[in-house]
C-alpha cells in the first residue's frame, strides 16, 4: 500500500444537491472512473477559497483523494493510495 501524489486536473461529473456535492464519475488519463463509494469528506479554506475534499473508491480497492476548488470550480486528483 502506498500513496502517490498526483495533483492532476480531472474532468468530473458531480451532483450538487441540498448544499452538498457528490462526485459521481471522473476522467483521468483518458480513463473514466465511476465513484462507487465516498469514504469521507472534509473542507478546508485558503483565504476566501474553499476546498471540498473527498476520499473515494471506484471499482477496485484503490483510494482516490479528489478536491473541488470553489474559486476556480475545477477538480483535482490530489493523490492515490494504491492498495492492489
Amino acid at each position: 500500500m502506498q500513496y502517490e501524489d498526483i495533483q492532476d486536473k480531472i474532468e468530473m461529473i458531480a451532483l450538487f444537491r441540498d448544499g452538498r456535492i457528490r462526485p459521481l464519475k471522473f476522467r483521468w488519463k483518458e480513463r473514466v472512473y465511476r465513484v462507487e463509494r465516498v469514504n469521507g469528506e472534509w473542507v478546508s479554506d485558503e483565504g476566501q477559497t474553499r476546498f471540498y475534499h473527498y476520499s473515494v473508491m471506484t471499482t477496485g480497492p484503490d483510494v482516490y483523494e479528489l478536491t473541488y476548488n470553489s474559486d476556480s470550480r475545477g477538480w483535482l486528483l490530489n493523490r492515490v493510495c494504491l492498495v492492489g
Binding site: G40, W42, S44, Q48, V63
Partner: protein, 427 residues
C-alpha cells in the same frame, strides 16, 4: 419525528428544568450528563477515508523516521503498546509494521465541527471538551427519547450514520462520572452509571483514575490514607476541606454526584486566556539566526490569531526545549497591550537571550505565546504621544492590510522576510 419537532421538545424539556445553573438536584429530576468520546478519532478518520488501513496498526503523527510523536494510534497499534505522545522512534521499535499517516489538523477539525453539530441536535447545552469529546446536559432531554440509554444510542447511531465513525458514550450524574463511564467499554461502548452504582463500579479504582487527578493530587490524597475512590467517597468533608481545600471537597462531591454536573455551552465559555504556537525542529538547532527566524514566524502566527479573534495581550512567554528534553519557559510583561508581531518578537528575543546563548545546548523546540488577553478598549489600548501616534497609525494600517491579504488569499501569501529562513530550510 421531524428534526425541528425534536429540537422543540428538547428545548421545552430543558426550559422545565430552569434555572440550569446552579442546578438543583432532586430525586425526581437528578442531573444527567453525557460524555461523548470518539474512538481513536484521528486514526478512525484515516481508516474511514482509506478502508485498506482497517485491521492494520495505524499511527497518526510525525512521519516514519522523524523526530515527531504519535498523535493517535488505532486500537491495533495500541496492542503493541503504542500510545499518544510516544516518539516515532519508539513506535518503530515496538511496531515496525505500523503504517504512519501524517496528521491532518484541518481535516480533523472539520469532522469535529460536524460532530458538534450532530450533538447540538440532541441537547441545547453542549460543551466541547476537546476536538473529539463533548459533554451534553441530558437532564431535560433523555426522557424524550425513551430514557438515557436509548437517548445515547440515538446519538451514537447518528454519529455512525452521518460521519461513519464510532463513539463511546458515558452517562452519569456528574461530568467526572460520565467521563469515566465513557472509558469503560471503548471502542463503541455505552455505559450508564446511575448515582447509586457509582461506588460499586468505580469504588475499588485508584484515585488516579479520576480525570483531573494528577501525581501531586494523588500524593496529597494518599497522605490522608485515601487510595481508592471508595476511600475518597467515605472521607470526612471536613478533613478534605482542611488538608486539600476546595479542590479536595469538590472531588469528593463530584464523585458522589452531588455536584459537577454543570455543562457550559460553547457560546457561554470563558474567553481565551492565551494564544501561541510552538515548533519542533527536524534537527536540533544551535544557530541563533535560525531560532530568531522561527521565533518571528511564531510571533506572526500568534498575533495573527489574536487579531482575528479581536484580542490584545500583554504577557509574552517563551518556551524552549533542549535536545535532552529539558523544557524551560520564561515570561515578561510588555509596557502596553499589543497585537503587533514585532513587539511580541522583540520581547521574545530578549527572553531568548536570557535563557540561551550560542554554544549552549542545542534546541529541539521553541514556542511563543501571549497571555493577559483582553478586548482592546480605552483601558487596554496604547497611549500614544504626539511623536509615536503617527508611527502607530501607519503600523496598524499595515497590519490591517496584511490581514486583508491573508483573509483573501490564505495564510502563506505574505510573511516577514526574516521569518522565511527557517521555513525555507524546512527545519
Amino acid at each position: 419525528m421531524m428534526r425541528a419537532e425534536v429540537r422543540d421538545r428538547i428545548r421545552k424539556g430543558v426550559e422545565d428544568d430552569s434555572p440550569r445553573r446552579p442546578r438543583t438536584l432532586s430525586k425526581s429530576n437528578p442531573a444527567l450528563v453525557l460524555h461523548v468520546d470518539m474512538d481513536a478519532f484521528f486514526a478512525a478518520i484515516e481508516e474511514r477515508d482509506n478502508p485498506s488501513l482497517k485491521g492494520k496498526p495505524v499511527v497518526v503523527g510525525g512521519p516514519k523516521g522523524s523526530r515527531g510523536v504519535v498523535t493517535t494510534a488505532n486500537y491495533v497499534a495500541r496492542e503493541y503498546g503504542v500510545h499518544a505522545g510516544m516518539s516515532i522512534a519508539e513506535v518503530e521499535r515496538r511496531c515496525p509494521d505500523a503504517i504512519h499517516v501524517s496528521t491532518k489538523g484541518g481535516k480533523y477539525s472539520w469532522v469535529s465541527v460536524q460532530l458538534m453539530a450532530i450533538l447540538r441536535r440532541y441537547s441545547p447545552v453542549v460543551e466541547p471538551y476537546s476536538i473529539d469529546e463533548a459533554f451534553l446536559d441530558a437532564t431535560g432531554c433523555s426522557h424524550l427519547f425513551g430514557g438515557p440509554e436509548a437517548y445515547a444510542n440515538q446519538i451514537k447511531q447518528a454519529i455512525h450514520s452521518e460521519l461513519n465513525l464510532t463513539a463511546s458514550v458515558g452517562i452519569g450524574p456528574s461530568r467526572i462520572v460520565a467521563k469515566m463511564a465513557s472509558g469503560l467499554e471503548k471502542p463503541d461502548g455505552l455505559t450508564y452509571v446511575k448515582p447509586e452504582d457509582v461506588g460499586r463500579i468505580f469504588g475499588p479504582m485508584t484515585v488516579r483514575t479520576i480525570p483531573g487527578v494528577g501525581p501531586s493530587t494523588e500524593i496529597s490524597l494518599n497522605k490522608l490514607n485515601i487510595y481508592t475512590i471508595d476511600d475518597l467517597a467515605q472521607a470526612p468533608m471536613s478533613m478534605l476541606q482542611k488538608f486539600m481545600g476546595k479542590h479536595g471537597r469538590d472531588l469528593a462531591e463530584t464523585i458522589k454526584g452531588k455536584s459537577g454536573a454543570e455543562i457550559i455551552a460553547m457560546e457561554e465559555r470563558a474567553e481565551d486566556k492565551s494564544m501561541g504556537h510552538e515548533h519542533t525542529f527536524h534537527v536540533d538547532v544551535t544557530d541563533l539566526d535560525m531560532l530568531l527566524s522561527r521565533l518571528l514566524y511564531l510571533s506572526e502566527k500568534a498575533t495573527r490569531r489574536m487579531r482575528k479573534a479581536g484580542y490584545v495581550g500583554r504577557v509574552v512567554t517563551l518556551k524552549l526545549r533542549t535536545h535532552d528534553f529539558r523544557t524551560y519557559d520564561h515570561q515578561r510583561k510588555l509596557d502596553e497591550w499589543t497585537d503587533d508581531p514585532l513587539k511580541v518578537y522583540e520581547l521574545a528575543h530578549e527572553l531568548l537571550n536570557d535563557l540561551w546563548r550560542p554554544g549552549d545546548k542545542p534546541i529541539r523546540l521553541i514556542g511563543v505565546s501571549v497571555s493577559g488577553l483582553v478586548r482592546p478598549d480605552e483601558h487596554h489600548g496604547v497611549q500614544h504621544n504626539l511623536f509615536t501616534a503617527a508611527t502607530h497609525e501607519r503600523r496598524t494600517r499595515l497590519l490591517h492590510a496584511v490581514d486583508q491579504m491573508k483573509d483573501q488569499y490564505g495564510e502563506k501569501v505574505l510573511g516577514m522576510a526574516a521569518s522565511l529562513e527557517s521555513l525555507r530550510k524546512g527545519w
